[in-house]
Symmetry: C2
Subunit: 253 residues, 2 copies
């Protein structure tokens, strides 16, 4: 039950208002997020109807609506007319397009297969610590992989994950990763990625990258650094991706 601070409607009087409170729709929104984080509603589940939620939360339908609409805009929920409101499953299709994305020079979309080169738990680098907001001496699970189309490697990638949080996640080296990796985070470690920050710079191919991508050392590359955030706002992934041939495209709107 969300806390009302003595609101009246239609001139019904009421005793003195206690503490100032956050708007009900924010309380409702946060409560829904918390319940999703806690696994009360899992990705793929349908929430109770708005009318039900309104009763449960002790607010009006309009307030529930405002909360769910905000979460839908944010990509966490999906409202389906006539069916209900679903906690968005991290289906491969959806998650690939929620962030900026790589495309071919001609604008064709990029549909890669990922190939794991190596995985290991190791001390976090200075960069990892900073971007994942980890304490000194923390360890990270590092995945090195390429992403290819038609057998041609186009992206070389290093992914660092907080080792503790992702202790249940591991792969066979050399294995093809058929599922979208955010789906795996969710399935094996219960981490749902909802947001990411990217930043992009120019870089020159190192020996290792040149080998993996089959280009020359020193070739101009795009380096995309991504920090991904979970439902709870924690930094859960630090990824660096290098590509020589692809472009990176914004999806504003």
């Amino acid at each position: 039950m969300v806390t009302k601070s003595s609101r009246r409607t239609h001139s019904v009087p009421e005793p003195a208002p206690p503490l100032a409170s956050r708007p009900l729709y924010l309380q409702a929104r946060d409560r829904l997020v918390r319940e999703i984080v806690d696994g009360v509603w899992k990705p793929g589940d349908y929430l109770p109807s708005e009318a039900q939620l309104a009763v449960t939360f002790g607010v009006s339908i309009g307030t529930i609506r405002r909360a769910t609409e905000e979460l839908a805009a944010q990509g966490l929920l999906e409202r389906q007319h006539g069916r209900g409101t679903q906690v968005v499953p991290h289906s491969s299709d959806r998650s690939r397009f929620r962030f900026l994305r790589f495309v071919h020079p001609d604008g064709r979309s990029f549909r890669p297969v990922a190939h794991l080169i190596q995985q290991s738990v190791q001390p976090a680098t200075r960069e990892d610590l900073e971007h994942l907001d980890l304490p000194k001496n923390a360890e990270v699970l590092v995945l090195l992989r390429t992403r290819s189309e038609d057998g041609v490697p186009l992206i070389y990638e290093r992914i660092a994950l907080p080792a503790e949080r992702f202790s249940k996640l591991h792969f066979e080296a050399g294995q093809d990763m058929l599922e979208e990796i955010y789906v795996l985070y969710q399935k094996h470690s219960g981490e749902t990625v909802v947001r990411a920050e990217d930043d992009i710079r120019a870089d020159a191919a190192t020996r290792a990258i040149a080998t993996a991508l089959g280009c020359e050392v020193g070739t101009p590359l795009l380096m995309v650094r991504r920090v991904a955030f979970s439902l709870t706002g924690d930094r859960v992934e630090h990824r660096k991706s290098w590509t020589a041939t692809l472009r990176y495209r914004s999806l504003l709107d």
Copy 2:
């Protein structure tokens, strides 16, 4: 007056509904946009209050609210509690942060001064035609400029604008451009940029760019291509920016 298709409330009967109509809040939203495009409300103006708009448009306040909230989320309006709702002026500060932006490697924001190298009207390149959606043989106004901080040029930029639309825009070559360029588009040509699509790739410095940026030919560069859209959804700017040292950062959220 927006067109209602026979809506009733509180069981008040009414004759047969005519054609299916778009939701009133969309009609209201579009009408507001059209009025802003037509100059009825100029950037910096305050709209009439919600109550007034509701009367004028013949809908309820809630409907007006939904329309203006959408436009506010989109960045076209700014709601100010207790003051009113303002058509967002393209103030330098605001427009710089509405899109992806360049930052320094350490995350410091980049506050450049632009320096015009050359301007000329010329036949559009194949790329210009494609990205600006212009007819064959169209001409574009091309601006070449650098953007510097503390006298150090960090970005080299080529901006192509449809020559007809921007016939009133011109500068002295060699001049420093102190105002944000989108403010100039608005002031001199009545074009308000509301949205942009970026795409980013790696490139190597050409002779011209190397000279302008003081780097070596072949240095890995970030090339950002931006297509900017006006209020009416037309493509009004095709810009390519090259930088060796800066990063490009997303602002999702």
